[in-house]
Symmetry: C2
């Protein structure tokens, strides 16, 4: 198998852009054929073109979508509708080590309720942080309806950093919504329940059950909710639903709707009509309008608050006394309340009404100022007259739910659940402009930075609740269907369906991708959840195992392709902590880690420290390994945890005699390995020379790769020292292994170095003429590249310089392509046939193709130094 | 808000196919503009067309991919590369209720190791069940490398039904592979470890650590592994890697390669070179070749097996004595071993060698028959001479790993990890045919039914381990990149990149979608994990709460949109079991269920019974609700769990006096509600008439919807009875609520009924002429539909019959479109302007467009009965 290495070396220099092929299309009927084969219309092709991203092309927008009952957040690109990541938020997720490493367990532990682990969430409304009512790309928050909590995700690394539990709600829905400078977060309750943790009979619903809105103080600089500066506004048990924060002219105010102003409490089991009947009896429910800014001041006075479960609650009567809480009737069982980009209009849609209602903030303020009330509710809250507060209403269709704004003045998009439509209308003129069918039963819809002061337009996404027949059947539990709608033109155009493979997303928000700038690595030694340097930070050479009584702490490092240490022996019952530092700097060079059967897993990105902890309660031998396919030698990136029972005696079983190598054989293997390394190093040096000669440092992306390759290469001298030391001790066996390690580092250097070289070639090659480009296509399409690889001897000769190899070279080559067999007796061709044991076939090339290929060969020769 | 209802009624009949718009493309420059805007080449457009699925179009192939460290399996479509589902397998997943309901907990409990919960898995190799070496679409299995286990997934509902733990391995990799009639499953170990559960020092590696292959007996009829009929072949601690089962001529044999025939055990922490150096020292490792069929017979004799951890193990010497175990040298550190469609060729690629090695099964058999051995290994296993067993070798490039076959004789596709390429070659002629660059560092590659006796060709998917720059940056942890490659032509063509949002898929298998036929609902009352009728099956009317001491059992039903019961009161400390039966029959009508703060969740598809169980250890009031947006009233689908402390005394807090309605007011509300219901019913009856008149029963998809609508409608008489009974008792309040419930059922009937009607219209409408179709486009694109909705009065008059409304109607309409203001004084137009308070604008239509619109209007009139 020595040949193996030689070919490896010979290949190092020759891997190039040889297969960068573009196929000819359009003009030659290829597209027509594909359309016919796949039954596509011309409109389909336009839609395909509007949503297709060629390899490596990024999306213009990113969508952050709730993952519904998966408890996670998903991120996808628009217009390609490709899901880029499920971010672990409320549910343990092993790929990310979330809930399986110690750092993330501390985040999840913040989400315990009354001491109980909550291992999932029903995520509903994601919200992006804002500065001056525009999204700023810094923080994302999302709420959990089932276990009233809010999580904070850092958009610099897409990791969950904080979870806070609502101390008084038992359920919530109308969170989470940032205010316009992210100084507060609105979280409204859903199902009313007692604020305390005691039993109260359902008969006491009106007296003891409460709704509310919690205003969480948020520090946008550090991205953390400040729990003790936060407070809750007590509200009647009307079952609050969605909320939105006022902005610009309405900044300081919050809006929260409700769906059970009937205060019906059901009783189907005792012959009462179900909740769905009783809760939708009235024609109107209440929009809650509150001045949270004023109430934040009010709450500072301890006389104005009740402290429940350690949390400040502003009672309704205090809020009313301070002119900070009002109700406005709104159509039956509303869903969305959405403040327009100016802050003046508040659009509410009632799912059991066919209208959208547009309220005017200035009209509301005038009513408040003049104390022009239509009455009070049973709890003494002033009610404003609906008609006087309305700018107007417009009939949209069946089951209108949510609204998204566009940059066009007055333009708004509303989802219709029952009609399964998106309707475009104007909330100023109150005219319907367009509608499009979606599939099926749309809930929320998501625009791009839509409900901010700076909506981007371009696309609307329908978050459909049913997909039914849209996709291949994958069992009784169907995917959801997010449909992308193009809103550039007068008519909306439904572009494409996107199945959601996990969870039922409830709501989603879009952001221009260029507003995000996430990191690709951590500062070496970082605990990513606290963003501090970890106590477990371990650099190369600092690896160690420390013991204190039953506590064993392992300070380990991970790097392509070994874990240090490779053996950990502990006693049964020991508490084992393994800190792992990923020493890599290269982008995407993540290592994973698990100890078999001990149910721990960590994802350790470059620079990160992740920690796993377990009680070694099972005796035995347990492999541990890197769970990412991080390099060619990833399978070998492993070690053994050995758990001894301190009360047992063990005897060695070493009986098996293996044949051993003689000193001479070992010396010969050593010499061979050193020679192989020398040859490989020559190859690497030639790559390095190529890179330097062509100024790799001018191209950032190449420079990063070279840095990584040199990182690997830089580890060689240390191994060489160890090898030399072994030789001094006469231990050839050990020396062979260290030389082998040197070869491994060389392979890793070459792996990355080749990628760097390939990229550099693309940067520095002279531009192809259109004719040469056509030639490259013909060369590849025509099958030439099956045997001829540029810059390399393959199944046929290397064609670099072929035009100069023969007299009147261009004609010679053209003739040969046109009719190979005419030259089979030519001495040069004959020699080649003998050498390769192959005759060049006639590929039936047309004259213009041959002409183009000659141009391509000329281009190759002009860049011969690059191949 | 009465108007709300009236419009609802008026809309019921008019929701139609009005927005089924197709935009004109291609000829009019739209495509060119999109290409320019998005920087697409003609080749890009072809690739877009090759991968785009218009709304509702299904994929030809489904891919089942390992979810890597997520512990799940993902399913996606080809060529659209849309992920359809993450199937929960080894990791709890709340959306599916997996690990959150009792039924699935029992499946996960099967996967406990030595009594410990394993809450994740490192899934590697999925395998589809086969009949006669062809995939049959019945079962899918997948292995867990970290905690050696195999899971069985039922492709009739895409749920995990069984998990078995390997009783002797501590780690595995070369599973799971079905034999050709799915009668056995091959599972090979990875990191060698003692078969027993005791500590053995690493120095005893060669004596006490073992590799092996477990042969699991599988019953393809019921889809379950039969643990006690299974056995393990003991192997040397060479660290077995991938496996494949022989087929056809090689049926009965198994092939498993290895990567540490050096038996190196590392020691980096004590100054030894790391495993990656020591384990790749030799130029060759061993391919294990074994006759599992013969060994299954051998294992039946208790004298031939050792029983370890209750499991039968065939020792190496017994296997050798029975001529059933052999070794063949294979190139350094191989990854893939792949048996060709005929079973004669076995292709092995060594990641540290540049070659693929093609072994011949008949040559291997000849060597075995003639006992032509090159020697034995230290454990006495006969070694066959590599050269004599080889059909040949071919140089492919750097880091060849895995192979997939195509229907073309001899054609094979191999992944090159270091070169980041897929190479096409011929394993018979040993010629390289083509190569394509992928991005980056490909591991496995997946063809369609590829390594079976009937490979389908068409596509190859590259499962790349790094994506680096391919996608928008989503933080240090990158998605993986699956790239779809078209292999229809001579040249491979890279079509599209697909990010993997969760986990690092290791391997994937493809199947023709038409081989799958999953169900969309369960037989009413089914426990989906056992496929038996559940003890908790509850039909409408059977709902109840049963108590026995501290055990409370709730038999509940779920149906749009209520949970029965709505109140559950228990004592603190009670053990609560809630059985839920989803009474729905409609496709995709799933209900979810959770009790707030009790960390349970269930996904209850139509017909299914799911059970949640918890100890009511927290006092208080806890809402429970349906977590799926199942219908317009989904928020109201809720109830309360109330947990009382039996040691506490509670006093009622009822003090609040609410205004109550007088008997007269209640009577008036009752009358109004009954009238509304009557009017709504008239509307429904007219829809029903339309459906019947147009023979809805002829169209299956419409028929299913009508069945569902009538299901809802059928619930009304019972409510009417309750309403009438309340009236008899003089309880108008209660009667109003039951009438309201009737209205809710009517809304649900209408919801589905409208969808049925819309669909039916598409089936029965006369076909549009091309001219009329153009007219519809022009009508929509030109903005007419902004005000005019066919079949309905909207912001402008209904245009149904407009051509007959005026003398010389066609000309009248054409003139009006061309210059509206010329007719503003026309009495009819004047009346319309007054009525709608709008003047028709000039949309600058061209003459041919106007002509087409007239044709469209004619088509409308010919189908006027449908709108």
């Amino acid at each position: 198998m020595e040949r193996g290495f030689k070919l490896l070396s010979s290949l190092v220099l020759s891997s190039t852009l040889l297969t960068t092929v573009s196929i000819a299309a359009g003009g030659d009927g290829t597209l027509d054929k594909v359309m016919k084969d796949r039954g596509l219309s011309e409109a389909d092709v336009v839609r395909a073109a509007k949503t297709y991203n060629p390899t490596g092309v990024h999306d213009k927008y990113l969508i952050f979508s709730s993952g519904g009952q998966s408890g996670q957040v998903l991120v996808y690109g628009v217009p390609s509708m490709r899901i880029l990541k499920y971010i672990a938020v409320f549910t343990p997720e092993p790929w990310q080590g979330y809930g399986f490493d110690e750092e993330s367990k501390k985040v999840l532990d913040q989400g315990k309720i009354r001491g109980k682990d909550m291992t999932w969430g029903d995520t509903h409304h994601p919200s992006l942080s804002e500065t001056d009512a525009k999204v700023d790309g810094k923080w994302l928050i999302i709420n959990d309806k089932a276990n009233p909590r809010i999580a904070v995700i850092d958009l610099s690394d897409f990791e969950t950093k904080q979870i806070v539990v609502n101390p008084v709600f038992k359920s919530e829905h109308g969170g989470s919504f940032f205010t316009q400078d992210s100084e507060w977060i609105i979280e409204a309750a859903q199902y009313a329940a007692p604020f305390d943790n005691n039993y109260h009979p359902i008969e006491d619903y009106k007296e003891s059950y409460r709704g509310g809105v919690t205003m969480w103080k948020f520090d946008p600089k550090i991205g953390r909710i400040q729990e003790k500066d936060s407070y809750t506004i007590e509200l009647p048990p009307y079952m609050q639903d969605l909320s939105d924060a006022g902005k610009k002219v309405s900044h300081g105010w919050g809006f929260t709707n409700s769906f059970n102003s009937e205060m019906y409490t059901g009783g189907i089991e005792v012959g009462m009509p179900p909740n769905e009947a009783g809760m939708s009896r009235n024609d109107t429910d209440y929009l809650h309008v509150y001045n949270w800014k004023k109430l934040a001041e009010v709450a500072k006075d301890p006389k104005n608050v009740k402290v429940i479960n350690g949390h400040r609650v502003v009672p309704m009567d205090i809020a009313v006394k301070n002119d900070a809480l009002f109700l406005i009737p709104e159509p039956k069982s509303p869903h969305g309340v959405d403040v327009d980009p100016t802050g003046e209009y508040i659009v509410v849609c009632g799912k059991l009404d066919t209208h959208a209602s547009v309220y005017s903030f200035s009209k509301i303020q005038a009513l408040i100022k003049n104390k022009d009330y239509a009455g009070t509710d049973p709890y003494g809250i002033p009610i404003l007259d609906m008609k006087k507060a309305l700018h107007g209403q417009v009939e949209l269709g069946l089951g209108p739910l949510h609204n998204q704004y566009s940059p066009v003045d007055g333009e708004i998009y509303t989802s219709l659940y029952v009609d399964s439509q998106v309707v475009k209308w104007n909330f100023k003129t109150l005219k319907v402009l367009d509608r499009v069918n979606v599939h099926y039963n749309i809930g929320h819809l998501a625009g791009m930075e839509s409900n901010t002061a700076d909506p981007q337009g371009e696309y609307i996404i329908a978050l459909n609740k049913l997909s039914i027949d849209r996709f291949n059947n994958v069992g009784p539990l169907h995917p959801q269907n997010h449909q992308l709608i193009d809103i550039h033109g007068n008519k909306m155009d439904l572009l494409v369906d996107m199945p959601i493979p996990l969870g039922e997303p409830h709501d989603a928000v879009g952001i221009r991708a260029d507003k995000l700038n996430p990191k690709v690595r951590y500062e070496m030694g970082t605990n990513s959840r606290t963003e501090q340097i970890s106590e477990g930070k371990t650099l190369a050479g600092q690896e160690r195992i420390e013991r204190k009584g039953n506590d064993v702490k392992v300070y380990a490092t991970l790097v392509r392709s070994h874990i240090n240490p490779e053996h950990i022996t502990v006693n049964k019952g020991d508490n084992v902590t393994i800190y792992m530092t990923n020493l890599e700097r290269a982008e995407d060079e993540t290592h994973g880690f698990t100890v078999d059967n001990y149910n721990v897993h960590a994802s350790v990105e470059p620079g990160k420290v992740a920690t796993v902890k377990f009680k070694a309660d099972l005796e035995g031998v347990f492999p541990y390994y890197c769970t990412e396919f991080c390099s060619a030698l990833h399978l070998e990136m492993m070690g053994y945890l050995m758990v001894k029972d301190p009360n047992k005696k063990y005897e060695s079983a070493q009986k098996l005699k293996m044949a051993t190598m003689s000193k001479e054989q070992l010396k010969a293997e050593y010499d061979k390995t050193v020679a192989v390394n020398k040859a490989t190093d020559d190859v690497i040096q030639s790559v390095v020379k190529f890179l330097k000669d062509n100024h790799y440092e001018k191209h950032d992306v190449v420079k990063n790769l070279v840095t990584d390759a040199l990182d690997q290469y830089g580890k060689i001298p240390e191994q060489k020292k160890l090898s030399d030391a072994a030789i001094k001790e006469g231990d050839f066996e050990k020396a062979v292994l260290f030389e082998n390690m040197i070869w491994q580092y060389m392979v890793k250097t070459a792996d990355v170095g080749i990628r760097a070289k390939d990229l550099l070639v693309k940067f520095v090659a002279t531009k192809q003429s259109p004719e040469a480009a056509k030639g490259e296509v013909a060369f590849n399409e025509g099958g030439c590249s099956g045997c001829h690889v540029i810059g390399k001897v393959s199944s046929g000769p290397d064609l670099t310089g072929v035009l100069g190899r023969h007299e009147n070279g261009e004609k010679w080559v053209a003739d040969f392509i046109k009719s190979p067999k005419d030259k089979f007796e030519d001495p040069y061709v004959k020699a080649m046939i003998d050498y390769f044991n192959l005759r060049m076939p006639n590929q039936n090339m047309k004259d213009p193709e041959i002409k183009s290929i000659i141009e391509y060969l000329k281009w190759i020769d002009s860049n011969a130094n690059l191949f």
